[in-house]
Symmetry: C2
Subunit: 221 residues, 2 copies
DNA sequence: ATAATTTTTACGGGAACCCGTATTGGCTTA
DNA sequence: TAAGCCAATACGGGTTCCCGTAAAAATTAT
């Protein structure tokens, strides 16, 4: 049974609606944290008092604001939380819609559910929590839709590494040494050229500039 | 006095928290619409019954979902709403953080306030509504921060024309003929080169790719 | 282990880009 | 009108990028 929930979320408005939704399904013990570091400390503290959380509801993206934080993403928070409390259930509530990111959450971080901030997110949250309560993973409806239309090209971390370097003003011919320094393989200039050609071909683009513009437009880099 | 509010927002969770916040400041008449088309119809209907809205709170980005809509952005909704009811107050509540987008809202659509979905957005919403109630425009705090770090250089329409062509995949050497076709002067290749060099010099950039990335990042193109 | 296949890297010629200099064209002023 | 000035354009050589082919390395299969 899920009674004690920790919410890690920096948007005040999201915490308000989460409170309302959790009220409606009868959850009484809710704690809010606006920073990942605080959330982690709270988990640690609850364990030490023998009153640990049943569920962590967390966003993925936390905005920087002046004070430096050790952890600043939902992914890291989940990772650290699982070290402290391996059986803790985790429900991610975020606006992220990139398939690869969500797949990683399920496969690598083994989250129990994902609800995207979108139409009917409140209803979906309730269903997700119900499922998790029954020890079942919850897979969101929109994820299924995304899996169907998987014709869209997914940018790999290699693609993004190259595109990021380009967008930072690194010359194409210098990219190999940067890749090597970061331990990314392959790193040959030909591989970089080939990849850029492929990406342009794939999207019917003609120039690097157009490719960079596209990636910026859609938040890929 | 603001008594009757229309909310155009597709995220269910956002409407829940908006309801809570508006309850707390004593607003009683609230209507929710999950699509721009419905929101516009609602405004029209309210006017025809002589009971028009005092304030429109709207998101900017509405997600497509199957059924086709005539209008699908907050910007268009505001524009159409102002045609129907010019004195209608407008408060935008969105996650958008691009300075140029927000500036356009204030300057071109003459909105009365902008609150970004972020830390302390609930508190900010209350303040914004109070200000608007006093017939004053509300400028968000984070906008001021952005304005401070604003790039000193103002991009001219000539700059933007070139950068836009580049971002659309037009080769540098072909840009002159496009400029001529659009009646833009100067149009020589040397002038294009000179301008791109100047822009890169100005921002301490090395490549066109970096320049395009920057312009996309800050919504210049 | 060897062969087959794929992936990665190396190389080279031609196109596009970068950048400095020279020329042209339009505008102001004497 | 002519001289002077500034912006726009034209030109040329050096660099980088583009793109096809070939060699090398890594992976998989036999």
């Amino acid at each position: 049974m899920i009674n004690k929930i920790l919410i890690a979320e920096d948007h005040e408005m999201s915490t308000i609606s989460l409170q309302k939704v959790l009220d409606e399904i009868g959850v009484t013990q809710i704690e809010y944290m606006y920073y990942c570091d605080d959330a982690l400390a709270s988990i640690r503290h609850a364990i030490s008092r023998g009153n640990s959380f049943d569920l962590l509801i967390t966003d993925l993206c936390f905005e920087m604001d002046g004070q430096e934080q050790l952890i600043n993403s939902g992914q890291e928070l989940i990772q650290e939380a699982r070290i402290l409390q391996p059986e803790l259930k985790v429900l991610v509530f975020s606006a992220e819609s990139k398939l690869s990111t969500i797949e990683k959450l399920y496969n690598e971080l083994e989250i129990d559910g994902y609800v995207r901030k979108a139409r009917n997110d409140a209803k979906e949250l309730k269903i997700a929590i119900e499922e998790i309560e029954k020890n079942q993973r919850y897979y969101p409806r929109h994820l299924m839709q995304l899996l169907k239309q998987k014709n869209v090209y997914e940018f790999t971390s290699f693609d993004i590494a190259i595109l990021t370097l380009l967008s930072e003003g690194i010359r194409q011919k210098d990219i190999p040494e940067y890749l090597q320094r970061q331990g990314i393989r392959p790193s040959g200039l030909s591989s970089v050229e080939k990849k850029l050609n492929f990406l342009k071909e794939e999207h019917k683009f003609t120039t690097n500039e157009q490719l960079i513009a596209f990636c910026k437009e859609y938040g890929i880099i």
